[in-house]
Amino acid sequence: MTPMSSRARHIRLFGRTVTKSTWFHIASAIALITSGTDAHAQSMDYGAFEQLFGEPVTTSATGSPQRQSDVPANMEIITQDDIRRSGADNIPDILQFVAGIDVRRYGASQADVSVRGYDQPYSPSLLVLINGRQVYNDTFGYTAWETLPVQLDEIRQIEVVKGPNSALFGFNALGGVINIITYDPLADSTDVATVRGGTQGLAGASAVGTLHFGDRGGVRLSAGGSRSHEFPTAGLPPSNAGVPYYVTPYHYAFSADGRFKAAPGVEITTEATASKMRDFEALPVVAPSGDISYRTNSLKFGINADTRYGLLEVLAYRNNLQITQPNISGIDTHENNTVYVVQANDLFKIGSDHTIRLGVEYRDNAEFSGVLLQGTVGYNIYAASGMWNWNVSPKVSLTNAVRLDYMTLNYTGTLVPGSRYTLADYNNTTLTVPSFNSGLVYKPTADDTIRLSVARGIRAPSLIDLGLQDISPIAPGFSVLYIGNPHLEPTSLMNYEVDYDRAIRPLRSTLRLAAYYQKTGDVIIDAVGIPLMPAVGGLAAYSQNVGGSEAYGGEIGLKGTDPSGLRWNASYALISIKDHGTLGALTGYSSAYSYSQGGTPTSVVRFGIGYSAGRFEMDLQGKWQSHFTDFSANAFGGANPVRINNYTTVNARVGYSLTEQVTLAVTGEQLGRTQIFETAGAPVQRRVFVTMTLRR
């Protein structure tokens, strides 16, 4: 065999060499899937099923297709109509009006989102996905919303699961899950162009188009971006790298999403995305990052088939994230994170009453940073999961799901002198972590639904939590070290919940009640959030598990629509939090952990009213939130508490259809006040903008 022919047998896939033998195994797997397929299309056609059942459908609760009213979890589904009527130009601004969702805005382009309290800068406990692909950032353990490669016009629905769902999604589905579902490139024709402009120098545009290849396939392409001026930064502490605040944040993104019928009963899905974003950000630790840039790209490939063995699906994707932060020393920090995920699931029914899902997952996660990590830290995860849904009777169903994640940690590079860990500590560390979800749904009448659920969610330490190797020389022979910890335990959360939904037909409304109790253990604080202690050659801080926290609370909400065109909603969310162990003792040092000292607003009231008449569409949404305590960096490497007073914010949108295709809308955000301090970050300014949308 010549070297040339040898090279020819190796092909680069996702940046890795794939051998002929590997291709044989892939082909064999595809052949196995496609042998014995039923001819019927097997994909989840969200639009067709929503039309059929008169309500949204989802797979985000159990991995099995379900009507929203049947899921064994507390789930809200925000539809495209809701998104349009909100008038918002970003997802966090839409989420802030959902009962039980906490949104903190630290700047024009940084907002952090959590479910049921515990929000903070770089909020780590909410897993965010787009069509099942993780867009949560494993580097720091949070979601940078402006990097998401999705345009609002191409979103079919935003699915919000309140409470843990690690038994389906694995790590980081701790406090909740948000799965953004886009329109189907095969079943839907989405052709929309939008331009937007307004105060703060806002200028944005997006376009979404769909190409169909007969009924054999379709591709949806989207691109968009926007920029604006940052909110005032004058009162903020100096940034941690000493660089000026970047005050004209921008973001843009591209996405191509395809679905093809490969054979009767077999479909292939593909997706490629890229995005870029630059802004300044508040960090969960000391001073804000003055100027930070993100680049993301992803590739996804899936094959699914309706076979006599069930609905088989194999999904593989690669996410890449690059973060750059300038430093006045001239040594900019660069982080490069690449994640490979391969998932396989089989979903099938046994008899008429039992649905089973069996799944396996492999994940390879690696982060390189010459400055922050002095090398590469990563982990491999091998996971197996199962779900059993039993329709006990027409009125009762029981769902149990379990998952076991086995993680092996690895590090290559040079640990900084003074680190108390060795390479062996990294390369011999393994974790075995179980999670589960159990839910009982009881429907005593067609109008009443009662849900009882108990679940255990898990959150992995971020790659920075594990591998940080930051050394800051202060004087000759004296340095400050911030060191990751390879022995961190994953954060776990137990959630016990009772929900009650009732259709109130005379009011054309649905009443939703939820009461829950949560217990969080092994809260993780990264090294920069831990007080420095004397160490060899200076001072050092190490990432730690710092104790636990418990919370109880609930939500009550009423939502309705009327054929006259009127719609309304109102809700109240309550939460009370108490911290335990070291976590409580550290309260006040960082905004990452100060929950029981007022770190979360206790009460939030939301209300909304809207009306459609002819060519007009008018909507108003408001929120009142009680006070809480945030933190702002001080000159001593710690943080000072900042009281955030209670506030009311009101947004409104008026839309007018100039023609059947063209809509003009005016959105006003924060109409009551020109400026509100929603956090210790930049004060949020009133925004007014005009949006013109062309739909084909």
Binding site: L52, P65, Q66
Partner: protein, 185 residues
């Protein structure tokens, strides 16, 4: 005494006067759930998830028992709804009335079994099995006893019922995703 008797009579007259129109209203409503346009639309959409299910212009055989007022009324109602051709997705449903003793000879692409047919409904099951012509109904007990493969209900919320044994006997299969969101037995 006479006065009191008059008052009582007037009161009774008023109560009777109030109840009479209500009685007429209730009396004019069928005691059973007649098929509505919503039911038929849901049935048509659900058939879209049947492998090799009906497509295009489909003649619906409205099966009724001429000796049952309930069945005749339901059949008339369905025929009225379909009279102009009910288009749902890629299906256009057009009606033809089929008496229970004409089922075997009916040249249709789909049966709709009306309420009140009773035991004669099983004649549809025979044709379903031999000619692979699907049957839908809003009379859910007819699905449970195997006369029809599929039953639908649009109110108070959408319910779809499929008899697995009847479907298997008739060689009819449904998309797996669809099966996971409906009631099978």
């Amino acid at each position: 005494m006479k006065k009191m008797g008059k008052v009582k009579l007037r009161r009774n007259t008023r109560v009777f006067g109030l109840l009479l129109p209500l009685g007429f209203v209730l009396g004019s409503l069928p005691a059973w759930a007649a098929a509505t346009q919503s039911d038929l639309v849901i049935a048509a959409r659900a058939l879209g998830f049947m492998e090799n299910g009906p497509k295009g212009d489909v003649t619906v055989g409205i099966v009724y028992d001429p000796t049952s007022n309930q069945s005749v009324q339901d059949a008339d109602g369905v025929q009225k709804i379909l009279s102009e051709g009910l288009k749902v997705g890629n299906l256009t449903l057009k009606p033809v009335m089929v008496k229970t003793d004409e089922i075997a000879a009916a040249k249709v692409g789909l049966f709709f079994l009306t309420e009140g047919v009773g035991g004669d409904g099983m004649k549809v099951a025979v044709v379903e099995k031999t000619k692979h012509i699907p049957c839908v109904t809003v009379d859910l007990p007819q699905v449970r006893n195997g006369a029809c493969v599929m039953g639908v209900q649009s109110q108070p919320k959408v319910e779809i019922l499929v008899n697995r044994a009847a479907a298997a006997d008739s060689g009819m299969t449904f998309a797996a995703v669809f099966r996971m969101m409906i009631t099978e037995f």
